[in-house]
Every structure is written in C-alpha cells, then in structure tokens.
Assembly symmetry: D3
Homo-oligomer: 307 residues x 6
C-alpha cells in the first residue's frame, strides 16, 4: 500500500471534484439532520463486488426515506463506474477501493417541515482506498467482541435496513466497548436482549457445525451477510437465520462478523472469554477462503500486506 | 423581514467564513456518522435568550458523546457572542436570529474505531435569520398535531437528551404525519405508547387548569420547556411532569408545543379532532404573553409580521 | 345484485326470525361486555366455503372463551346449513352470502362474576348478502394500506386467535388510517412494531418471488390466509411465515390482504408510496385466479359486477 | 329488597320501552364490533351520585371513539334524569339504582369502513336495581384478590380510559382468578407487571398509613377512585398516585377496590395470603364511613340488607 | 422401591462423605449468592442416560458463569461414574438414580467483588434415588398444567440456559399455580406472554399431528427436550420449534412436559380446561414408549411401581 | 482491626455453633433452589443499626416467599441480639459487625412441588466482622461505576424487594463491569434502560443540588436508602424519587451508592468519564458526615483504619 501522488476525485451532485475540495454546505440536511442514506461497496482486484445489489439496496433506502436522488439506478451505476474508472489509476495494483454513496435530501430548511429540502438531493460518491490496517491483525488472531450496554435502535423507531447516516448510537456503543478493550468490536443487542448487529456489520456463529445468524428483523440485511450465506450453501454448511442471545456467543465454537471492507472478521474472544478454543475456527477460514477464491483476491493476505 | 444585502458569517473551527462558503468535508463525521451534537438558541430583540443554559446543555451533550470541542464553555460563549455581534448588522431591527451550534467529532476514520477522529472537532456556529413564516399562522389558528406510527428512539438506544444530529427518525416521523395533513406537526410516542416529544420540541397540555408535560425520562429536557414551567410558576398555574398518553391529548382543554424558534405553538386539532373548543386556549395565550413580556418582544406579532 | 323481495331469516338461539326482527336484549353479554365469539364464512356460487374449518375454529374460540353454545359442532353445522338453504332463495344466482356466527355468553349479570350468565348462550347466525361494493374497485387498482399509530392487542391481553367481538381497537385504528385516505385499509403493528394484521384480515407480501406473511403468534390464524398458503403451495410459490416490519412492506414487490369477504385484496400503495410498480402484482393475480378456479366463481368479476 | 311489580323502562334512542322489550338489532355495532362506550352511575337514596362527572367522562369517551350520540351533554343529562324519575317508583325506599349508559355507533356496515354506521348512534340508558348481593359479604369479611395471568390491554392498543364495552379480556381474566377461588376478584397487571385495575374498578392499598393507587396512565380514571382521593384529603390521609407491583399488595396493611356499585370493596386476602392482619382495615372503614356520610346512605348496611 | 440399609455417599470437592454428613458452609457462595450451576442426569436400569451431554452442558454453564470447577470434563465424568458405581449397590434392581451436580464458586467473600471466591469451587455430586411418586399418577391421568402470573426471567437478565440454582422465581411461580390446584404443574410465560418453560422442564404440544415446542431463545435447552425431538424424528412425527402462546395450549390435542426425572409428563388439563379429549394422547404415549424402548426401562411402569 | 482469637458462633436453626462448624446439608433448599431470603444489618459502635426495620423487611420477604421461619419477629430479634452479645467479645472496640440473616425453606424435596420442604425452615444468623478493606479507598477517591450489559430481573419475574439469595444475575453483572475496571462497581439498568440498582445497594445522584434516586418500583427498598432520604430531609436537601437513565449519571454533579456495609460509597467515575469535577462531592460528604454523627462512628475513618 503506497500513497498515490494523484488525488482522487469525488462525485458531488453531478460534478467531479478532487477529494480535498469535496465539501458540502453546513446547512445540508446530512449535517443538520443526519438525513442521509448510504451504501458502501468494495472492489476486489479493482472490480466492484455486487455493486448492483448495493445500488438496489440504496434505492430501497432512498424509497423508504423518500429522498429523490435525481438519478435513476442505471444512471447511478454509470456515474459510479465512471468515477471508479478514473480513480483506479491512483492506487496500486494490490490495493482496492471502498465505493461509498451518501445521499442527503439537500439543503435543509429550518421550519416546520424537514421533509422537503431547499435544493435537490446532495449526491456524494467517493472512493477511499480500502485501508484495512485497523482490522488486519484480526484475520489471524481474531478480535475481541464485546457487548455494550446501549441497545440497537428498534425498527419501530428507525429500521436498521434503511442504511443511513444517523449513526450516533453506534459510535456511543463503540465507546462503551472500547472501555473493555481498546480494540474491541461491538456486538449490539436489541431492546429485548437478542443479538442484533455490529456497528457496520452482521454477526455469525458456528455451533456444532451449524452456521447461525440473526434474521433481518432486527439488523441490517447485509450484502456481505448474504454472500456468506451463499458461500455456505455451496460449501454444504447448514445455515439458520434465528434469534441469538449472548449465551449462544459465549458457547459457540466460532464467531465472526461480516462487513463490506473486511468481508469476514473472526472474533476469538467474547466479553473476555475465549470463543471455542480461542483460535480462528475452521469453518470461518473455509468460508473466507471460498470468498477469496470467488473474487480472486486473497482477502486476508491483502489486509496483512498493509501492516 | 427584508433580506439584508450583507452576507452573514459562520464560525467554522476557529475562522469566520461567509455563509455561502461555509462548507465541510464530505468525510466529516457529521456527514459520515451523524456524529454531531447541537444547540439552537434564539435572540429576542437581538439579545440571545438563555445562551448560558444552551451552552451548558451543549457541554453535557459533548461530554456524554465524548467529543472534545477544543474550546472551554467560556470560549464557546465568547466566540458565539462575537459572531452574533458581527451578524446582527445584517438583519432588520424587528427580526431575530437563530444561533445554531453543531459540533462534530472531526474527520471520520474508516476503520474499526469510529470513536476517534482524524482531526480536531469541527465546530460550526451559524446565525440564521429567525424565519417563522412556516409557523406564523399557527399562533392564531393553532396547528394540527398528529401522531406518527414511528416511535421515538428509546433512551437505552440513544438518549434524547444528548441533543444530536442523528435525526433521521424524526424526519421520517414527519413524513408520516404529513400524509394526514401537509401542515401537521408530529407528536411522537415512545415505544410504550407514552407521549414523548415533537421533532424539535416538547409537548404540553392543559387539563382542568393544570399544565402537564412528560417528564424528561423519554424526551429532550428543552430550554423552552423549562421556560414555560418557570413562567407557569410565576403565573400560579399548577404544573405536573407526568406520563401522558394520546387520550390525554384528545381530551385536553389546550395543547401546545415548545421549541426555541416559536417558543409556544398552540395546537387546536389532534389527529383530526378539535382540542378543547378548537381555539387557542386562554392559558396558552397567557403563558405566551408572559414570555413576550419577559423578553420584550411580541413573539406572535413578530412571527405574523413575516407573513 | 338486486335486492330480493323476500326477507331473510336469522337463527336466534333456536328459532328463526326475519332479519328485521332479529334483536337481542340490551342486557345481553354481547352488548354489556363484548363477550361474544364469532366466525364469518362465505359462499361461492351458493356453496359455503370451508364451513367445517370455520366451525372448528368457532369451537376453539368458544372453548378458550369458556362459552357453552348449547349445540354440538355437528348441530351447529346443521342449523347453519338449514338456514342457508332457506335464505338462498332470496338472492340472485350471481350473488353470494356471508354466513356470520355470533355467540355470546347470554344475559349478563351485573355483579362480581361476569363469567356466568343468567341465561344460556345467545346464538346468532345470519346470512348477509355478500356486498363487495366497498372493496370492488381495489381488485383492479389496489387499495392504499396505511399503518395506524394504535397497536394490535398483545396475546397476553387477549389472543387475536380467539375470534371475538371486542373489537373497538380495530375500529379506532381504522379511524386513524382514514385520516390519511378515506379509503385506506389499516395494517396494524404489534406492540413491538412488527406487522400484525388488518382489522379483519391477514397481510401478505411478495418479495423476490417469495410469499411472506406474519406467523400466527401475533395475528388471527385466518382461514383465507390458510387458503392462500395452500394455493401457493400448489402453484409452486415459495412461502414463509416470518416476522415482517413496515420496511418489508415499503420495499415489497406486491402486497395484499386476505379476508373472508374479498378473499384477496391487493394494495398498491403503502403509507403514500407505491408498492412495487404501483400496480396489482402478477403473483397476487395468479393466486386470486387459482382461488376463483377452486371455487368456480370469478371473485373479482363478482365484486365488480356489484359496482 | 323486594321486586317491584311495575316494570322499569329503558331509554332506547329516543323512545322509552319496557325492559323486557329493550332490544337492539343483532347488526348493531355494539354486537358486531363491541363498538360501544359506556358509563355506570349509581344513586344513593334515589339521588344520582356525580352524574355530571359521569356524563362528562362519557362525552370524553364518545369524543375519542368518534361516536356522535346525537344528544348534547345537557340533553343526555335531561333524558337520564327523566328516565330515573319514572323508574324510581318501581323500587323500595331502601334500594338504589344503577344508571347505565351504553352508546354504540349504530347499525354496523359490513365492508371496508367500520368507522361509519348505517344509522344514528344507538343510545341505551337503563336503570338496574343496585343488586349488591354478590359483594355484600365482602364489606365485613373482605374479598380474595387474585392476579390472573392475562394482562390489561395497553393504552397503545386501547386506552382503558375510553370506558367501552370491548371487554372480553376482563371476562377471561375473571375466569382465571375464579380457578383459584370462585369468589375471587381480579387484580390485573399491565404488560410491564405493574398493578393496573380490576375488571370494573380501581385498586388501592394502605401502607404505613399512606393511601396509594396506580396513576391513570395504565387504568381507568374512575369516578369512585376520585371520590376516595377527595375523601382521603378531607380525612387528612396522605395519598400517592404511583406505580404498584404485586409485592406492594402482598405487604400492604390494607387493600381495597373502588367501583360504582359497591364504592369500596375491602380485600383481606391477596393470592392466598392475608392482607395485613387479615381483617378489613381501619383506614378502609374510615373512608367508607365518610362516603356513607357524604351520600346519606349506609353503604355497607344497604348491601348487607340485601343478603 | 424399598429403602436400602446402606447410606449413599456424596462427592464433596474431592472427598466422599455419607449423605447425612454432606454439608457445606453457610458462607458458601451457593448459599450466600445462589451462585451455583447444576445438572441433573438420571439412570435407566442403573446406566446413566446421556451423561456426556449433561456434563458438556454443565461446562457450558460453568464457562458462562466463569466458575472454574477444578476438574476437566473427563475428570468430572470419571468421579461421577465412580460415585455412581459405589452407590448403585444401595438401591434395588428396579429403581434408578438421579445424578445431581451442583458447583458453586466456593466460599463467598463479603465485599465489593462477588466474582472471586475465598476458596476453590465447591463441587457437590449426589445420587438421589429416583423417587417418582409425586409424578407417577400423571402418566396415566395426566397432570393439570397451570399458568402463573409471574414470568420467566428474561435472557437479558439471566439466560435460562445457564442451568443454575438461583431459582426462587420458579418456586414462587409454583406457589401461584398451587393456588389453583395443589397438584398443578406450572407453565411459565416469558415477559412477552409466550410460553417459556416449566420449573424444571420444557413444554410440548401436539396439534394436528405436529409436535411443537418453544425454541430455546426463551427457555432451557433441555436434554430431555432434545431426546423427544430425536425420538419424534425417528417416529416420523413432524416437529416445529416455534413461538407458542396459551391459546396454542388451550386448543392443542396433546400437551406434555419433559424433564430428566419423569422424561415425559402428560398434561390433560390446562388452566381448568381439558386438553384435547381430556386423556393422555396417542402421540405422547408413542414417544414415551419409544423412550422406554430406547433405555430398556418401562418408564411409566417404574414410576407406578413406586406408588 | 485485629483478628480475635475466639471463634464466633452462628445461630443455626435453634442452636449455636462455631462458625467453622456452621454447615448445612447440600440438600437444603438454599443450595438446591436458591430458595432463601436474607437481611444484612450492621452495627455501629457495636450497636445494631435499624435492626427492627431490617427484621420487619425480612418478615415481608418471608411472607411473599411463603416461608415460615418458625420464629415470631420478636423471637427473631431476641435470638439475633443474644447472638450478637456473645460475639461482640470477639472483636476490637473499633470494629463492627455485619449481622446476616439467611432463611431457607428447609430441606428440599425432589419432586413436583418445591413449595413444601421436608423440614422446618433453616434459619442461619451470623455475625461477620465488618471488613471494609475492599471499599475503604473509595470513600476518599470515589469508585468507578460501570453499567453492565445484563439487566436487573424485572419485578414480574422476581421482585427485587424480596431480598433473596437467588442472585446469580448480580454476580454475572459484576463480572461484566470488572472487564472494564477490576475495581468497578455495577449500576444495573432495568429492562427498559432505567437505572435500577447496584448488586447490593441503591444509586443516588446529586444534580443542581437536588438528591435523586430511582423509586422502588424497580429496585430494592434499601434501609440505607431510607436513611439517606431521612438525613437529607434533616439537612434540607431536596429529594426526588424518580426515573433515572445513564444520561443523568453522566451529567450528575455527584453520584453515590448506599448499602448496609459502607453506608455511602461515592463514585467519581461513570463508564470512564469523571462525575462532576471527578472528586467526591460536597453533598455526598455532608450526608455521610450526618450519618457518622447519627451513629457515633466515623464511618469513613473506620473503613480507612482497616487498610
């Protein structure tokens, strides 16, 4: 991973601007109201992974949030690919990109109706280099998963499946788990005490050879989550979408998170106790290997190369 | 209300910039994570109202959100007053300002730890002209208060008293009530079905001469709310902080909201039914009059003059 | 649909009386306590549909409500068929009947024990002409499904599967959705925010070709619901009984209700947003067609003929 | 108490009919939907007690239920008093009346909109002789209060303060407590496990000389409840509206119910354990005595005379 | 069943002591804090049944409770079998043993940290003669299952799958059901009103030939429960792990409990109503017969022989 | 604090035995079921503090748990004082005693009815020397209060006011907070996210000069809690029993726990953030001083002398 000397561009509501100039008004509804939906896609070997599915989910979020992005899904795909094409020259062959869409309602109006904006939606698309240094050591050692006291926002308040940027509760939950271990990764519970999700990912366990994950009634329907379920199917691993409690994680043989940047992140400790034998599990490694094969990138190797 | 020809300035992390240039990076944690705390204060006759209390609450929000603004409360007060002093020349004698503080954690870091930022906090302070046109008609006629299906975020997920900008659930709740009446104002319930708050304000009723409002265990501890309770005390109106359900609002004699911009906003309809006799109530008017007297501004008159 | 000149009869606790004379004491427990269980069956081409299943469910409701109807299930079936036979002559060939059973505990006793009555149960069976004019336009255009703020009664208070006449909460929920659209049909959520049921029916969605409906842990185990699941099985449509939230309905490809009178009622709008492409969906139409075939009646045609 | 040989009349939507003829259509929304609001007032020495307050509450219920009774409150009062006047001649000097108002939405319409009726509201007013034989023994011995497994309906489903006739859950709760003791009186808990109400009354305890009762956020705002609080105030007994759990009832010194017919009903056993010393408590007797004095009727004596 | 004249031994933290001498300090954390995990295994024809699975679950409980027993699972198995071998001579051929493990954290420390003990864990293993007289009559007649008002402890407070000795809430729930019937067996609901578990067992119903039991998200993952599911699989009985409410039990064809001592205990009454036809059901008898065959002991016969 | 060379006695169901011999059967219901109620009283200058109130509460717990201790409250008081008198000679003048009552139902019966025991209740009374070394440093520095993910048991499962020994959930909660700081003291939330209690004490805050503590609807009605409220009243400090959330603790000026051994334990850190200025607060010190004066013992001094 070496820094490129060419600055990347950002797509900002129809124009391309260099990253350092990519700014929005402090009156934007993203800033004033957290009123912004989002998607994060990554590339593998410079090719976007399941970009169509991410864009489809983005449009579901836009629909429920009633934000008109001013672009059709096809146009969104096209501008995304154009931007990526341009920016790819700024990174090394071995590195990859994070393709992030943030779409806010536009300039906010102070007044009785926050559901209309003074301007068209603000469409922000950027490509960050996929910097995995923060997670890289976890592939081999596993991370420490910790449960915060704060609970995930219930769907009757704001459905986690609207992938959005009103995420302060995730950040505060992370603060809580960092009190236990500065590298801890959170496992949020829902208000009934069931395992919900990670700040940006889903949670899986392996128990007696069965792969289990919460159903999406209390967490994001992650694209990486779906990929793991597909890979497991191909590998003949039995899968269950079910309700999990901390007891299941304490007594699991394996535990891992899924999210766009790291794909699969093993956890070998849960609230201070070893998960299984305290090492990254066989099924976790098997699914990660299948994923690496699927995309033609050694996911773990790429991350570790950044260290 | 006439537009001034001089552009106002914004305080942006230590420098003053014209409003039209007040922009922040799309990588700011305000945009990327909704990780931003806020306060809104208003002036009356160009003097800030309870600015000290607003700044004290801002620092409580900052503390719980663990954001270091880089300024002491005294410094924050000073820069706020300086900015206001400069901007006051841009508005007419009869108009007033909204003083808004937004403080994010700074440039977000993509990675496992959202609780640290790449930069110092982003401190945004701006003065919007207090445009009350959206609410002005409600002073005389009362607004239509409507209950959305979505519920306020419970404190175990994110306490409403951390005044923050992760507010998508408020916007979606507003969308729901706008389906009933395009000028409707929301009354959010908490997840147990108790009246919680408005998207940016508190809810009060008058029943048999007693002023009642939810306790702050499920809503923002509004500064305007506190002002109403103080004024009621002086006016010898009995007050109760209690638990309210929609039944209480349906059968109340009077209903109003409180918030910084409009101070007191009467509601004369609740979910399609008249509140009391369907007119703005006597106690509501009495408290609003006392407030006008307190601040030396005819609050209703100022708003109506903008129509 | 032409009105018949012969008045229909009603079965009233053992005797047949003309509809206009079918009256019960104001002291009946149906009136005094809402203490009445019920079933609604319809005919297709003058033949009752799944009457045995409706009567079996009626006896489950009677059992849990501890009401002794004074008739065995076989006797209930016989008197129901006798009544129907008599009444059929009052309607046109193209019309059908709604067979409604209402059974209350009998004359209520004012005093400490509402669980005994002063008389035998009041057994009311009537045949209303199946007037579908209120729903007829929805077959082609779809209705507008709207979520009220009020929630379904939880099973720990009163299980929805006891099909009963203590239904004020449904009526008030309907009032709420009529504020949005005077023809809106309600989608009640349970107290956890999961989709529960309609005032008299069940809710289904189609997403990516999969038919989904809430499990009966929070809604009525509808006979029409069961019919749809059976037809879908025959049509090789994958079905899931699962937990649904409003997000699922917003993002579904198709949405419909099931209930005895209309069988399947498409919804093409949900809380103001189009469902799928805003038109009645292919799978919805396919299942309705299969139902029409099953019963030998063009269900949609019959309804539209009444307009 | 001797039966009168003159039949009483019932007010039925504008006409007076003898009780035995007081019947409503089986298609009335009271029967078909439990869509009926109600009030029960009693007389003391043939004078109605707080009839104005009962009628005021009736109109609050009507408002929230959106039923138009077709009479103003003043007219309702007048017809109620007229009816009472006529019927009083049918009872002995020592007996009293129960004045019951039941008002349904009118003839129900089968179709998509239960919020409108085919006819004007059905107004039923009747005067039952206040038969206290079922409760009479409890004045001296106290009753057995028992907690059922079923829970009160939460306000977010149907607010208990809308005094209505959709009461099957109360009847089923009574069935449950009758399993413990055939004369048991229920104490319903709300869904959080807090004491809510009795099937038709409120619950009070005395602990260390303080009179406590649940606030009306989870129970009916009973007129008898209010009377007890007023009498206690006059008797210098400290009162608290608070949250109670079964522990409070188990460890209370005194326990009683309040309701229109019996006013105050002591409970000397709670779930099989004696309350206090197992006898009717001093404060309970004191308040009941004050009530008897207030209304000029020996409440306990009148009831016991009926045995 | 005849009492043996030789006293059995107990394994007490490494030493064998006669039962009558098997005592622990009143300062043990089992006594002071209920801080003790447990397993109960039984023998059939003097052979322990699924002892390996019970010990595996014991170590899961120990792990989550963070108690170090000072023995490996293999050592625990060995000392358990040794003890059993010795004690078997004290009972008749036709009788069997209950093998109970209780492991507390050790001598409790009064002070700020209950998570450490002053001593090594207290390991108690005893063999009680399997006295089934209390249950024996239920095999033929079925027991009376009753729902208490108290609810099972939610997993977010203490997960039922940690098999532990902090069981006062079960005892109090039993008290409540004994008010209904002195031989009643409890069916606890969880805090949402779903069927959870019995004081020491799991709950099953048979409805239309399908065997249903709650998933383990709100109850103990019983070893007997697992045995029933295995036997049902072999017998080609369809099984569902699902969410059940009291309605399901009221309307089931068969109802039974499972627990280590009695294996399968039919219930023929639920809250006073007959289950199915009021007799022990065919599927219940079939599974019990299969179990008897599996273990070579006539389970019902053995129990009845003790009467 | 010097160890005495005379061993203390324990009262064990009617007999006095030396502490080292104070043992109970492993078949006792305290061990087998956690079926044991308890009280902890302390002495100040060798005099028991509020022993009468503790014994009264013990009998409330016994009543609700339906355990018959076999002694009247007066007898319990007498044997307690006798025991204390004997044991007092074993400690130094400057030290004090912890008087602990543990009363179990007696020898447990394995079988369907845990509510009866094979023997009379097991009454255990012991006097531990009040060893405050674990807490002593907190008087001057304050402790670190931390919120675990596990929640207090709701009253509908087991009311915290039944002071009992089924306390595994407290121990597991302590484990969780020890992950943050090995000396952390827990602040449990209830299942709604409101502050409940500490593992053995109550929680108080001071905000703007007002002393606040949760009402006893979700926590133990502590005797120390009551003492603080009495002392505050005498000191003219305004008190509120209210609902508190973590936000209140984060933003409080002072925070402390109350419990029998330490009386008042200041907390100067909450979840890693300083409380107020990070030092023990003035009002906390004032109340502690008043308590010391009340009992004639320098509470803090006594504890610190043990270090």
């Amino acid at each position: 991973m070496t820094a490129s000397n060419t600055e990347r561009n950002v797509y900002l509501s129809g124009t391309l601007v260099p990253e350092s100039q990519a700014k929005i008004s402090i009156f934007d509804s993203a800033v004033m109201l957290g009123d912004c939906v989002t998607e994060s896609t990554r590339t593998f070997a410079h090719k976007p992974f399941k970009l169509g599915e991410h864009i489809a989910r983005l449009y579901r979020s836009l629909k429920v949030a009633r934000i008109d992005p001013g672009l059709s899904p096809e146009e969104m795909l096209a501008v995304t690919l154009d931007l990526l094409q341009q920016n790819l020259q700024t990174i090394d062959h071995g590195d990859d990109f994070w393709i992030v869409h943030n779409i806010s309602r536009g300039l906010a109006v102070a007044g009785p109706d926050p559901t209309v904006a003074q301007s068209a939606a603000t469409v922000m698309i950027h490509n960050s280099m996929m910097d995995l240094t923060g997670w890289a050591e976890f592939f081999a050692q596993g991370c420490h998963a910790v449960t915060p006291m704060s609970r995930a926002i219930p769907s009757q308040s704001l459905d986690a499946r609207i992938k959005n940027r009103s995420r302060m509760n995730y950040t505060l939950a992370e603060v809580e788990v960092k009190l236990v271990d500065e590298k801890a990764q959170s496992v949020l519970l829902d208000i009934h005490g069931n395992v919900s999700e990670n700040k940006g990912g889903n949670v899986f366990i392996v128990s007696d050879g069965v792969l289990k994950t919460p159903s999406t009634s209390n967490c994001l329907a992650g694209v990486s989550r779906a990929t793991v379920l597909e890979l497991a199917l191909e590998l003949n691993i039995t899968c269950e979408e079910t309700s999990l409690q901390p007891y299941d994680l304490y007594t699991a043989d394996e535990l891992f998170f899924t999210s766009t940047p790291y794909c699969i992140m093993p956890a070998t400790k849960f609230n201070g106790l070893p998960v299984g034998n305290g090492e990254v599990g066989a099924i976790t490694r098997k699914i990660l290997a299948a994923w690496s094969e699927l995309v033609g990138v050694d996911i773990q190797g790429q991350a570790e190369a950044q260290l």
